[in-house]
């Protein structure tokens, strides 16, 4: 087991390092690509091995890291069902994305940097997932943050790309303050930073402290998982290459916040305030993301907002205490969202790096190999009954319903409305991009579509299969016990089960909502109405749609509230306080002494006799004073 766990992390790490050091000059391009993909699949194989030999949660210590007196944070890995299932998903999805990226990046000269960073990202992500203590988790947490920063700004020549990377890094790091404070506080309270120990010691502390800790961790999760109010970085993060968006900003890294909350749930879940805060954050974010996605024109931005929204669902699930349902949705979302992003990458490549969906159309016939998987992803997202997305989303909503009460009841309805909007925008996207005719002025209409590398479309298929049939992983209770459910449920976990009838009813409601959303989209964008709507929406956005288009204008608000004051104050502090006050005071003091010296010098006329008299007078004064004292 130790070997497996070591391999899981070390393979991607080694791949990244080898590529970084030797790539470009010493390794041919093919070898770099091969190495990058091979290490991820190797890691997947190791995960499979670990899964095969898995019997009970294991803790493996690989070496020491931080150790000073009573504070110890060694390199310790912890494998339990939660981390194992996430590891499987990450290595598998990332492996596919790596293969896809080989095709996507085939003309880019900086492929070495790209693949090295992708590999390092996977290594950091796996450290995050497998970490047994919080500082180690923090190492992975920041490591993925750095890789994300470097990859968003991958095409660094454009200032907006570089700025997007910087924004992502800084905003997520704001959330990390919460995690950092939580770690040191927990160390002070419990004398340990081991996750397993902390989770079993929660009862030692009063509920108020637990609440505070939970809220701090929620802050961290908000930053990393792009939850309201720290969600502003994710839409901009789409500036990176599409495989990066698929891997980091859809499938893996952004779910780290949710993972953290799931991990620490036994500790923080006992506080109702915390779970309520998590739930309301999730619901709000889900609603926010869905509404924004409704009006976007940029294909990748639609997907980004949809990611925000879907992670909101997961948070909602965690808030409702439904860890299993959340995990299920996390996995399912990783499959179909990666699928959608990769499909979007195919579309964008075929359209010569055009991302505006209003300039697309008719791609159904041009690139059928992309269309069908993309459609599969979209129906999963829309929650069409019997797809994986339907079951996983429904699991969360069901759990919220189960909690009952006015608060969670409201959240349930917010979730339902969001599901409706989700269906609308998912189908809108498909209809606009793939239906209709190719725009006349576009090169595709002249039959000059760029041929897609085969490898890109092939890698979509496994994801599509998993997305659509992912529901089989965790079937609802009335169809027999779910695989995932029994795997994840820990002894002592008290996740409630809905009565079968209620569950069926809720699923019926969800199905109706999804179908309603799809039909709404069809009636707006389907068939001939597509052209009219497009003409209508192409006009510059006004009113509510402009508000949604700009993500509720949160960016502008933050710019006004935080960014500008920060910049402004920093130059004020520098030029007025530091240079103007502190330094100038000292300079002036020094100048004063200098002037005093000159003044004294000017008083004396340089005559030796006067100096002598002055000296004698001084001596007389001193001796006289001494005599006076001695008397």
């Amino acid at each position: 087991m130790k070997l497996y766990l070591e391999l899981i992390i070390l393979l991607p790490l080694l791949g990244g390092i080898v590529n970084l050091l030797l790539g470009g000059r010493l390794l041919p391009r093919r070898l770099t690509e091969l190495l990058a993909c091979a290490v991820i699949w190797g890691s997947f194989a190791a995960t499979l091995g670990a899964a095969a030999s898995y019997t009970a949660p294991v803790t493996v210590e690989l070496g020491s890291w931080l150790a000073a007196f009573d504070f110890k944070a060694p390199f310790t890995l912890y494998l339990d069902p939660l981390s194992l299932s996430l590891c499987l998903m990450i290595t598998f999805v990332c492996g596919l994305i790596h293969i896809y990226a080989v095709g996507y990046m085939k003309d880019d000269p900086s492929f070495v940097r790209f693949f090295a960073l992708l590999n390092l990202f996977v290594a950091a992500m796996l450290v995050l997932i497998l970490a047994e203590n919080l500082p180690l988790l923090y190492l992975g947490w920041e490591g993925v943050g750095f890789c994300s920063y470097a990859l968003i700004g991958f095409w660094y020549r454009k200032p907006e790309n570089a700025t997007a990377g910087r924004k992502a890094f800084i905003v997520t790091r704001i959330g990390d303050i919460g995690l950092g404070i939580a770690i040191v506080w927990m160390f002070q309270l419990f004398g340990s930073v081991s996750i397993t120990k902390l989770n079993s010691m929660g009862y030692l502390m009063p509920i108020g402290v637990i609440t505070a800790l939970g809220l701090l961790m929620l802050l961290a999760a908000m930053g990393k998982s792009a939850q309201v109010p720290l969600m502003v970085w994710l839409p901009d993060a789409m500036a990176g290459p599409t495989p990066v968006s698929a891997q980091i900003h859809a499938a893996t890294m952004v779910t780290a916040g949710v993972y953290l909350l799931m991990r620490m749930f036994p500790l923080i879940g006992v506080s109702p305030t915390v779970t309520a805060a998590i739930a309301i954050t999730g619901a709000l974010t889900a609603f926010y993301g869905a509404t924004c996605a409704l009006v976007q024109r940029d294909l990748k931005r639609i997907l980004a907002y949809s990611t925000i929204s879907q992670i909101g669902y997961m948070m909602l699930g965690v808030g409702a205490g439904a860890i299993t349902a959340s995990t299920f949705h996390l996995l399912e979302h990783a499959f179909f969202k990666a699928l959608l992003f990769l499909g979007a990458g195919c579309v964008i490549t075929a359209m010569h790096h055009e991302q505006d969906i209003f300039r697309m159309g008719g791609l159904r016939r041009t690139i059928p190999g992309t269309f069908w998987p993309f459609l599969a992803g979209a129906v999963c997202l829309a929650g069409v009954p019997l797809t994986g997305g339907f079951f996983s989303k429904d699991g969360i909503l069901g759990a919220v319903w189960l909690k009952g009460g006015g608060f969670y009841g409201t959240l349930y309805f917010v979730g339902l409305i969001t599901a409706f909007i989700t269906a609308v925008y998912a189908i809108r996207m498909v209809l606009i991009v793939f239906a209709g005719e190719v725009p006349l002025n576009h090169s595709l209409s002249k039959g000059e579509g760029k041929p897609l590398p085969r490898i890109m479309e092939w890698s979509l298929i496994p994801l599509a299969v998993l997305g659509v049939f992912g529901g089989l992983l965790n079937l609802p209770e009335y169809l027999g016990s779910g695989v995932l459910n029994s795997f994840l449920s820990q002894p002592g976990s008290h996740e409630g089960m809905l009565p079968h009838a209620t569950e069926l009813l809720l699923q019926g409601v969800a199905a109706v909502v999804a179908v309603a959303g799809i039909s709404t989209a069809w009636f707006r964008y389907g068939g001939d109405r597509r052209q009219q709507r497009l003409a209508l929406e192409s006009a510059p956005a006004r009113g509510i749609s402009a508000f949604l288009m700009e993500g509720w204008r949160v960016d502008a608000l933050y710019d006004f509230m935080f960014v500008r004051p920060y910049k402004w104050l920093s130059s004020i502090l520098w030029q007025w306080v530091d240079e103007g006050c502190i330094d100038d005071t000292l300079d002036r003091t020094a100048a004063l002494f200098g002037r005093f010296g000159h003044w004294i010098g000017a008083r004396g006329d340089g005559r030796v006799s006067r100096s002598l008299i002055g000296m004698a007078a001084g001596a007389a004064l001193m001796i006289g004073w001494l005599a006076w004292v001695m008397l």
Binding site: L66, A68, D70, Y156, I170, G180, S570, W574
Partner: protein
């Protein structure tokens, strides 16, 4: 077993080397090679001290010291030639030898006038700094404390640029005022101890445990604290640092940031707290307050800087604020974090200053707005730059994180509010660091500059530093192990 005069050799080898260089003022290449040889020999010597740790404690040595030397010097005044090395000194001495070697290598080509004098001053300074780290006699300590100032004054004054004289004088006045007050305080302790016990001595181990009245203790400790705070530098005594850094030659900046700033923290740990435990405890809120203020304030100001060296200089102020926070907390974890952070800051900031110096050497400007798009032109340089910038911003897995995290963990017990604020101070470095990276390395070039990538010598320097950064970041255990005994003795905890 190493013979007794090992410490003396360690202390005076660079000084002897600098005297040797006096004879070579006309032969530049010979001077370079001699200086480098001596610096390397010193590094070797310093590293060999590592292996003395396990050996038996020398006689009469205070606990924790594995190398000790005590000879009478000016007996009538109770001044002795007392040197000692414990874990703290060991790490700092190795750092000193290492950074000095790098400073020599960095100025290998960039210094073109009075080469021998330049190297001579660097070596002389090395002796001074090592002396500070080894002295266990207050008078001796003061002597070396002053000795290390003078070469730096000339380094800034002779080879500096822009307002070099202004900066050199400012540097000198600041540190001089602080150290003169310290001298008064040293004499004060000497007299008070002499009156109490009848034995007039400057020895540290003699003086520890002297009883002061509260007011006297506060005054004396205040004088010490002022001298050390100037060196640290703590806000608001920091304004000499940006000027000195900006106008100093690269080697000067490297030594200033890498080594001189550490002497303040070291003095506080070795002398300030043990001599005046009461007063130190009373003034702890002040120290912690200034530390946190410095972290936030300097990091904030760094964001507005236009000059790269100035930016790195302000970042130094911020990072040393963390060290001050750890010392203020005075718990075992925080103190080991502080000491480790001193080493880390020495390595990272050295690298950053060296790298800015390399740019300056080629393009003759340090303004951020003159650069841009360097990544496509000099990728190796850029990769190193990102690495060190990230280390400086406290990315886990690199060295600074380890120190900062230990400091924060250890301080939380003592000062919750300060630690929480300091956590905000953890992200501020990231803000200015990514801005620096973006404006210098990314985007399009803003002025056509012809740059060549790193030479082999430069790659060698940076690789050593980078390896040190990563190794400490991933496996700090050996260093923490070395610090364990002295830190436990200082804080009174069990080792």
């Amino acid at each position: 077993m190493i013979p007794v005069p090992f410490l003396t050799l360690l202390l005076f080898l660079p000084l002897a080397g600098s005297l040797l260089l006096l004879a070579m003022t006309r032969r530049e290449s010979l001077a370079r090679i001699t200086a480098l040889t001596i610096a390397l020999a010193e590094t070797l010597l310093a590293c060999s001290a590592w292996f003395c740790q396990g050996s038996t404690t020398p006689q009469a040595a205070p606990p924790g010291f594995f190398l000790f030397l005590d000879r009478p010097w000016i007996e009538t005044l109770g001044i002795r030639y007392t040197l000692g090395m414990d874990g703290i000194s060991l790490l700092l001495v190795i750092l000193t030898a290492f950074v000095t070697t790098i400073a020599l290598l960095v100025s290998w080509r960039s210094i073109k006038e009075r080469v021998a004098l330049h190297f001579l001053l660097i070596l002389a300074m090395e002796s001074g700094i090592i002396g500070v780290f080894l002295s266990l006699d207050l008078f001796l300590f003061y002597l070396f404390w002053e000795l290390m100032l003078i070469p730096m004054f000339f380094l800034i004054g002779i080879w500096g640029h822009d307002r070099n004289i202004y900066s050199a004088v400012k540097f000198f006045l600041y540190t001089m005022i602080g150290s003169l007050l310290m001298l008064l305080a040293i004499i004060g302790i000497y007299l008070i101890h002499g009156q109490q016990s009848g034995v007039y001595s400057f020895g540290l181990s003699e003086l520890i445990g002297t009883n002061f009245s509260t007011a006297t203790g506060l005054w004396l400790y205040g004088a010490f604290l002022l001298a050390f705070a100037v060196k640290f530098p703590l806000v608001p005594l920091h304004t000499w640092l940006p000027d000195a850094h900006t106008d100093a030659p690269t080697a000067g900046s490297v030594i200033l940031a890498g080594l001189l700033l550490k002497t303040g923290a070291y003095g506080l740990i070795r002398f300030g707290y043990p001599l005046f435990p009461e007063a130190a405890r009373t003034l702890t809120p002040l120290l912690i307050g200034l530390a946190v203020a410095g972290i936030l304030y300097a990091s904030w100001i760094a964001f507005a800087q236009k000059d790269m060296k100035r930016l790195v200089a302000y970042s130094s102020v911020g990072h040393m604020g963390f060290v001050a926070l750890g010392i203020g907390a005075w718990t075992p974890v925080a103190l080991s974090g502080s000491l480790l952070q001193m080493i880390n800051h020495g390595l990272t900031t050295t690298a950053l200053f060296a790298m800015v110096g390399m740019l300056d050497e080629q393009a003759h400007t340090r303004q951020i707005e003159d650069y841009g798009g360097l990544w496509s032109k000099i990728p190796i340089y850029s990769a190193f730059f990102v690495l060190f910038a990230m280390a400086s911003a406290g990315l886990p897995g690199l060295n600074n994180f380890v120190g900062e995290f230990l400091i924060l963990t250890g301080s939380f017990k003592v000062a919750q509010l300060a630690t929480v604020l300091a956590f905000i101070g953890v992200i501020l470095p990231l803000v200015y660091t990514v801005r620096l990276i973006q404006e210098v390395l990314f985007q399009e070039e803003r002025r056509p500059l012809s740059m060549t990538d790193l030479s082999l010598r430069e790659i060698l320097i940076l690789t050593f530093l980078a390896l040190a950064d990563i190794v400490i970041g991933m496996h700090p255990a050996p260093l923490l192990e070395v610090l364990k005994v002295p830190v436990a003795l200082l804080t009174g905890g069990a080792p």
